[in-house]
């Protein structure tokens, strides 16, 4: 822990601002940014890092979705329906956890992420001029497939301990035909509820530390407000490319963790 308390809080705050901005822009929770930095740079035990990260996901989700719902970017009905599939999936995942080989699942998942990321990059390069912006009207396609995909996303995120954003956004965008910005805004709306279920569990175990969580969450709140403003002014194709880059990073992390046996616990 650095000597100065102000310095310590400020460091966490800056981390939070960055994670909150990225989270609000892309509809992801930011756990992928917060957890590695807390554990590697601050030497925080993994359970406390996850506890902090879950609280920050709620801050990102609430802060960003307040804006996106008001501007009608988040599709509330779509979000709530997929939320149901995801939460049921997460509970199911917890029940069958023992029967599944997590390393194999992680590598399979990484391959799927790369495929989805590649598809998105290709589409953003090919159709950059015709990519529909959020305000365009859209019809949601393939509800059943979207529901099944969200259920699987719930299982996977429950088993591998990852947020659902990187799975939910591609499902909405690639499978259900939802414009990219609506997909990220709806994902932002959803992740708070998914995170809250786990956050209470970490809280009751004492893994939400005041001095770690509060400064990071405050930063995240500021970052999320910043992110919503940037998002509404950025063309979808650039957001799609940024999102794809995050998916490839995510895939690499998954494979790395699997090879190190990080899912054994």
């Amino acid at each position: 822990m650095p000597n100065s308390a102000t310095q310590f809080f400020a460091g966490l705050g800056v981390l939070g601002v960055f994670a909150g901005t990225m989270g609000a822009l892309l509809g992801i929770g930011g756990g992928l940014i917060i957890i590695p930095i807390l554990t590697l740079v601050y030497g925080v035990p993994i359970h406390q890092a996850i506890g902090t990260s879950l609280c920050c996901i709620i801050a990102t989700s609430s802060g960003a979705a307040a804006n996106y719902v008001e501007h009608r970017l988040s599709n509330i009905r779509l979000g709530m329906t997929l939320e149901l599939a995801t939460t049921v999936g997460a509970v199911a995942g917890a029940l069958v956890a023992a029967a599944l080989h997590r390393e194999a699942l992680a590598i399979l998942f990484a391959v799927m992420l790369c495929y989805a990321g590649g598809t998105m990059v290709r589409r953003s390069l090919k159709a950059s001029a015709t990519e529909p912006e959020a305000t365009a009207s859209y019809t949601i396609r393939r509800w059943p497939l979207g529901m099944i995909g969200s259920g699987v996303a719930g299982v996977v995120s429950g088993l591998l301990g990852i947020g659902g954003g990187p799975i939910k956004v591609p499902i909405m965008y690639l499978v259900m035909g939802v414009p990219f910005k609506v997909a990220t805004a709806t994902s932002n709306f959803m992740i708070g509820v998914t995170a809250a279920a786990s956050a209470f569990i970490y809280y009751s175990r004492g893994d939400v530390q005041l001095l770690l969580t509060a400064p990071t969450a405050i930063g995240v709140y500021v970052g999320a407000s910043l992110g919503t403003h940037i998002m509404r002014r950025t063309p979808s194709r650039w957001l799609i490319r940024l999102f794809s880059a995050i998916m490839f990073y995510f895939a690499i992390m998954m494979v790395w963790k699997a090879l190190r046996g990080g899912f054994a616990g």
Partner: protein
């Protein structure tokens, strides 16, 4: 007067906005008091506050209790959001989505109770 979809969205947006804003302000107040109170190493003396002791200590503007309360408010915001969604869908007479939202609430509460018991 029938309740419109727009009003429902507005209500949900307000819960999210004020839930996260108030939580952030309360956490910031708590941290501010900690910093104002003294030198860095004394930070290690701030611990979690047990729930029964929270309210009395909040009354005294205790730094740790305020921070803790802010975090609890943050954790409760998504739950409030589901409750408001249930209410607005009901006011819109949209039974299908009342059931969907009730389902989400049930699963979330179930998964919380599961692990607290286990």
């Amino acid at each position: 007067m029938p309740f419109s979809e727009r009003q429902g969205e507005h209500a949900i947006s307000l819960v999210l906005r004020y839930g996260s804003l108030i939580a952030t302000v309360v956490m910031a107040l708590g941290l501010g008091l900690m910093l104002a109170a003294g030198p860095a190493n004394s930070l290690l003396t701030y611990h979690r506050v047990a729930l029964p002791a929270l309210l009395p200590r909040l009354m005294h503007l205790d730094a740790a209790a305020l921070t803790e309360f802010g975090i609890i408010l943050l954790l409760l915001t998504p739950i409030f959001r589901i409750l408001v969604a249930i209410a607005t869908f009901a006011l819109e007479r949209d039974l299908k989505y009342v059931l969907v939202a009730l389902g989400v609430l049930a699963v979330v509460l179930l998964s919380i109770s599961f692990t607290i018991e286990g």
